[in-house]
Each structure stands twice: as C-alpha cells, then as structure tokens.
C-alpha cells in the first residue's frame, strides 16, 4: 500500500519506538501534524517556543540511555527558533533527530513564504542534515538520521521535509539497518595502543584519571568505576562528566577546570600519567595549554572522535574507540598483569592530594545573614537524598549546582556545557521528567536565565510536569557581574536585572505554586515543603546574596594551578 510522506514520517517514528515528539506546528508541517493526530503511539508535546522543543528533546535524550530525542518544527521561523537548541545539542554531542518542515520543492529558492535555507543555516551546528526531495528517499533518510544521531560521537541530525514531499505517496518500507560507506564509526580500540596504555598506568607514580561527557554518552560509568576502584587512582570529572564516577566516593576529587576544585586542578597539573576518557581538553578545563605543558606528564586519551585527540593538547597514547569497549580491554589487561602500580608512590601521591583537599576550596560563609546560594544547593542535595535529576541554566548557579550537588549516578546532571545556553534548564527538565515519569526533577536557575524560556511554565501546566524550580535570585547576571568585578574594575555594565517580575505571582498565574524565601532559616523548610508537593510544579524564588562569587576560579588565559581561591 502506498503511504503519503506525512504517514511515512509518523510510521518511521513509531518504528524507532519514539515516545515523545517535542514540537510546534505551522504551515509546512500541517500534514505531519494531521498524521500525528490520527494515532496515539507517538505522543506530541506542544511547547511554547521552538527553542524549547529542541532543549526538551535534548533533556529527554540526556536523561535516559535508550533513545535519541525528537523535535518537530515548521519551516522558516520555526527552524530559526530551533537553531539555538540544535547548536546546544551539537556542542554537547547529544543524539537528536529534528524534523523540519520546508516549503514545497518547486518553491525552494523563490523566497517563498516562511522559506529559509534550513540545511545551510544548520549545517555548522549539526552532525549531519538532509533535505528530502523525493518521497521515495524519506524512510531511508529518517533511518539514517536516527543511525547517525545515535552512533559514534552522537549529535543532532536535521531532516528537512518539503510540504509536497509530505503529501506525495510511495510504498512504505522501513529498513531494519542501514550501512553507509562514508560513515563507519569505530568501536574497538587498537590493541597495541591499549597495551601501551596499560603499561603506562602500571608505571605511574602520580596517576590521574580525567573523564568527561563521553563516559556518560556511552553508558560506561560502571566500567569506569570498576577501573578507578581497582587501581585506587584519583578521579575527576568535567562539567559534562559529572555522575560518571560517584561524587561521594573518596577517590573522587570533584570537578576540574575553571571552577573546579583545588585538589582536582592541582592533581591534573602535577600528575605524571593522565588517563583521559571521553573528554576533550576544553579551554574551560585545562586553561592555558602552555601552562599545562610546564609540567611533564604522559597522556593516554580514549575518544571515539579522532579530531578530539591532540586538538588542544598533544597526547602520547591516543586510543580511538568507544569508551566501554576500550575500558573493557584495558581492565582485562590490567587484571591479567602480574605487575601492580607502585603502592608506595601512590600513597605519597594521595598524601599530597589530601593536603590539597584540606584547603577546603568550596568553603563559604555559613553564618551569613543572607541566603548563600551554596547553602540552598547543599540543602537541596540532602532533601532529595542526592537522587534527583538536576537540570540547570547558565551562570553562577550552574557552577554551584555542579560543585554542591553530589551526583552519584550518570545522566542525573543535565546542563549546557559547550554552548552555555541560558534558557536550557526549564525545557530540559521537561524532557528529563518525561523520560523518567516518576523521578524528582529540579531545575536550578537564575532570575535571568529562567526568563529566557519562562513561557514553558505553560507547557508544564498542560502536561502536568511537576518540576521543582530553584531560582537563585541574586538580581544580577551573576556570572557576568563576577567577571566585571574581577577583570573590569567593578563596572557592572548591564549586568543588573532590573524590573524583575514577581516570580511567585508569575508561577501562580501559570497555575503553579510559587514561594519566595528570603531568610537562611527558611531555606530548609521551604525545600522540604516544595519537594513534598509531588504533583505540583513549585517555583522557589530564593533571594540570595548579591555579591557571592564562584570559587575557585581560573581566570582566562591562566593555567590550572593559577586559581583564584576564596
């Protein structure tokens, strides 16, 4: 039987087992929406802005390990609104399939109503994109999109479907598999290289294990944890890697990087063998590479993307491969080896690390009369028993959440690291909650960031998404203010948030519960009350210290051991 393009799209989504499509309708996708309407396998979540559709699909993808996220938007402004979301997912390597409507093929290039060059606009911020000009190519293209998005180094894939293609008919056949001669992601690492890595690990006197988003993306936390514990080596995670190794474990040194802990950054700088796993030596992680080279160390780097290796930092033992495959091999070799790392040296190294740790770099004033943001997060950690899915926006609150909420499990910490997109937190929380329908989901945000996708409070109402919004309201673009304080002579150019809405009333007007908390003594009670309201969205507006800064901090252009400490 012949199906229309629109029917085919929906059938493909069903075949892929897609639970949710996050989207927003418009002229170019009317036929697609008509088909969605006629079935109930694939549920549609109507967001209030296309940026949020993509962030929500992204949050959904990050919060579970089974499927990519899916978004659907119309042509022209639907697409341009979605671009921020797509770029956000691209920078953090999140598997998404974004279906975009396009004007009918004969109208392409005619400056047609709501036409934009979707493939051109999104090209630099997708893993791949397709324009489907013939309905016969539609099913196989969607298959390829899911395949490309979720294999290798994951990423967003856009499929642009012109309106006439959604009407045209063809025989439907969904391929079980696809193979592409130009795309064959590696899995196994090179055996010789893994052997070299094992040798280096066994010879290490001051070892360090540094892991990133790649461990989360490839679901390799258990293997990583086994490796770290077996070796007794110190471990640090990037902002994207938090939760890959249990944060409450003594071998964990906390996050590293610009706002990483003193002990993690010092150990990173002074180790003699560094094992980097699924992490990309970002500029916010190692700071100035020249300074990093001041100390000598051997570096082993496991990454599925060859272009992540030796990009910013030259490495000694590159291993191109899938984290779990490589770690399994590495574990096998280490277990079989008669040699063991030098325990005496390791003990000396740990003594040094504990000394760094005793610097207590995350301390803050606990006796303050105003609410300290760190305190809110510590309490939130206690009250949620460390078991919530926590999304965040971008700014100081994001860094404090990363520092103070101890993630023991992967995929619990969901934030925009690479692009640093304000507005990410709330829609991402919607996706995370839909992926985990019973879980506690909190969105840690700031009064500026939350306003970038505030309209999604309406979506949360419609779909009963009882997210707990923890607004650390410092009446400042806090992260901007901090840089202005440190590096621009306290000139707070445009970083004050004036004319803020009454967030309590705002939440209430959307049909949610609002709370304002102004005193440190009320923090704990408010959090308890809010998190106990299992089926309501609660917007907690914490009026926090306006002048608090995030420490430690490595200023731009400085190296790992050149932190500003509190």
């Amino acid at each position: 039987m012949e199906l229309t393009g629109a029917e085919i799209v929906v059938r493909c989504l069903q075949e892929e087992g897609v639970e949710y499509v996050f989207g927003y309708p418009g002229g170019a996708v009317l036929y697609l929406y008509d088909e969605l309407f006629k079935q109930d396998k694939v549920k549609h979540i109507l967001v209030r802005h296309e940026q949020a559709a993509v962030h929500a699909a992204d949050g959904y993808a990050r919060a579970q390990d089974r499927k990519p996220g899916v978004a659907l938007v119309t042509s022209g402004p639907g697409v341009t609104n979605a671009v921020t979301g797509i770029a956000t997912a691209h920078m953090d390597s999140i598997p998404l399939v974004i279906i975009t409507g396009q004007v009918p093929t004969p109208a392409i290039g005619q400056d047609a109503f709501q036409e934009c060059d979707t493939v051109g606009i999104t090209r630099p911020c997708v893993k791949h994109n397709f324009l489907v000009k013939d309905v016969k190519d539609l099913a196989v293209t969607i298959k390829k999109a899911f395949y490309i998005a979720s294999t290798g180094r994951p990423g967003p894939v856009v499929v642009d479907v012109p309106k006439d293609v959604s009407i045209a008919k063809t025989e439907f056949h969904y391929p079980e598999t696809v193979s592409m001669r130009s795309y064959n992601p590696v899995t196994k690492g090179h055996a010789g290289q893994i052997k070299k890595a094992a040798q280096l690990i066994l010879e290490a006197k001051r070892p360090m294990i540094y892991t990133g988003g790649g461990v989360i993306l490839s679901n390799a936390s258990a293997l990583l944890t086994e490796l770290v514990r077996m070796l007794g080596f110190p471990c640090t995670n990037t902002l994207m890697g938090l939760g890959a190794y249990p944060a409450t474990d003594p071998l964990f040194l906390g996050m590293l990087g610009m706002h990483g802990t003193y002990e993690a950054n010092m150990a990173m700088q002074h180790c003699d063998v560094l094992l980097a796993v699924g992490a990309r030596f970002d500029d916010r992680v190692i700071g100035n590479p020249k300074h990093f080279y001041n100390e000598e160390r051997k570096i082993i780097h496991i990454d599925i993307d060859p272009s992540s290796i030796s990009k910013r930092v030259k490495v000694d033992v590159p291993i191109v491969g899938n984290v779990p495959d490589v770690l399994e091999e590495l574990l096998k070799l280490l277990k079989a080896s008669k040699e063991k790392p030098d325990q005496q040296a390791l003990k000396t190294w740990w003594t040094q690390i504990e000394l760094w740790r005793s610097r207590d770099c995350l301390k803050y004033d606990r006796a303050a009369a105003v609410i300290k943001p760190q305190y809110v997060l510590e309490k939130m950690y206690e009250i949620t028993k460390g078991d919530a899915f926590v999304t965040s926006d971008v700014g100081q609150h994001q860094m404090w959440a990363a520092q103070f909420y101890k993630f023991d499990k992967p995929r619990r910490w969901i934030n925009s690291g690479g692009l640093g997109t304000m507005g990410f937190g709330l829609p991402a929380a919607m996706g995370a909650r839909l992926a985990n329908p019973k879980a506690t989901v909190a969105c840690v945000t700031g009064e500026a960031s939350i306003q970038m996708c505030i309209q999604e409070l309406s979506t949360c109402k419609q779909y009963h998404l009882p997210i707990k919004i923890v607004n650390l309201n410092n009446r400042y673009l806090g992260m901007v203010r901090q840089w202005q304080e440190f590096f621009h002579g306290n000139r707070y150019a445009e970083s004050y948030m004036d004319a803020l809405p009454d967030f309590v009333k705002l939440a209430e007007s959307y049909g949610h519960v609002g709370m304002r908390i102004e005193k440190p003594a009320d923090v704990e009670g408010a959090l308890k009350e809010a998190f106990a309201l299992k089926d309501r969205l609660v917007f907690m507006d914490f009026i926090t210290d306006q002048t608090e800064n995030v420490f430690p901090m490595i200023p731009g252009g400085k190296g790992l051991s050149e932190m500003i400490l509190v």
Binding site: V119, R123, P124, R181, S182, D305, S307, K311
Partner: protein
C-alpha cells in the same frame, strides 16, 4: 607548509558546501579547491590545496573525515605525488607581439586554442609554479584574462585512492 589533500565524497547536493563550510568555520586556508564527478557517478573527487602547520593539517584531515559525505581523505604530501593545473590565458597578439606569444606558448608547451586578429587563447597545464612562471614571463599589459582550475593531484606509482 603547503599540502594537497585529496577527497572522495558522495556526489550529493551540498557536499561541496560541507567541505568549504568546514574550512571557513574553522579558519583553515584554502589556496584552491577543485571538484568533479569520477568515473563512478556517485562519487566526486576533490583536491584541496591548503597551508598550515602539521597540527593544523592533522586537524583538517580529521575534520574532513568526520563529514558524513566524505568517503576518503588522503594528504598527498604523505607520499610521492603529481600535481597538475590547467590555465587558459587570453593574451594580446597583434603586431610584433603575435610571434612572441606563439614562441612563449611553445616554450611552455602550451597550445593556442583560439585565435582572433588581436588575441590568442593559450591552454597550459602544469604545476602551479609553472603556470606562475608563464604569466611572469609575459608583459603584464598583454595579459587580457586568465582562468585557472586549481590543482588536481594524484599519488605516484601504485598509490591509489578509491573506495
């Protein structure tokens, strides 16, 4: 250093812009770029001439390999290779210049492929350097128009780039 990078890519709409977009987005140089379908109509062969340090060239080849439409990438500088470029030059060829132009074309093994009373159009192939040398050998004012294809490269001997 100057490198010649050869690619095989899917002969798909937009594949070229993925490559050129990569170069501009990441700030890599393109000295020249030439592309055409191969004997297998589903594939295009592209030659990109670029310059950069070893680290940059390494990133360029890795990033090119990452593009989904790119099937194979070879840095021809990794071995012996041959490079050729085609140039068409329209020159003033009247009066005493006419003989001189013919002589120049012969010296450089060029061919005159179009003739009018006042002009010759000369076809010349060779390395970029040879083409430069030819142009430098001419009086500047006698050059009316030039068009060059950019280099095409191929490995020497048994080295073969195919799927």
């Amino acid at each position: 250093m100057r490198h010649i990078i050869s690619l095989l890519l899917e002969n798909e709409a937009g594949a070229l812009s993925r490559v050129s977009g990569l170069f501009s987005a990441r700030g890599y140089n393109i000295e020249s770029l030439s592309v055409a379908p191969t004997e297998d109509a589903t594939l295009s062969r592209m030659t990109v001439v670029t310059t950069g340090s070893d680290d940059v060239i390494e990133q360029i080849t890795k990033q090119l390999n990452k593009l989904i439409d790119v099937v194979k990438v070879v840095d021809l500088n990794e071995g012996e290779h041959i490079e050729r470029e085609l140039m068409l030059v329209k020159v003033r060829a009247s009066g005493k210049d006419r003989e001189e132009m013919k002589r120049m074309a012969d010296i450089f093994r060029g061919r005159i492929i179009d003739v009018t009373d006042k002009t010759y159009t000369i076809e010349l192939t060779g390395t970029g350097e040879k083409l430069d040398a030819f142009l430098q050998g001419l009086e500047r004012s006698s050059i009316l128009e030039t068009v060059r294809t950019g280099a095409s490269g191929i490995g020497r001997g048994e080295r073969i780039l195919r799927v």
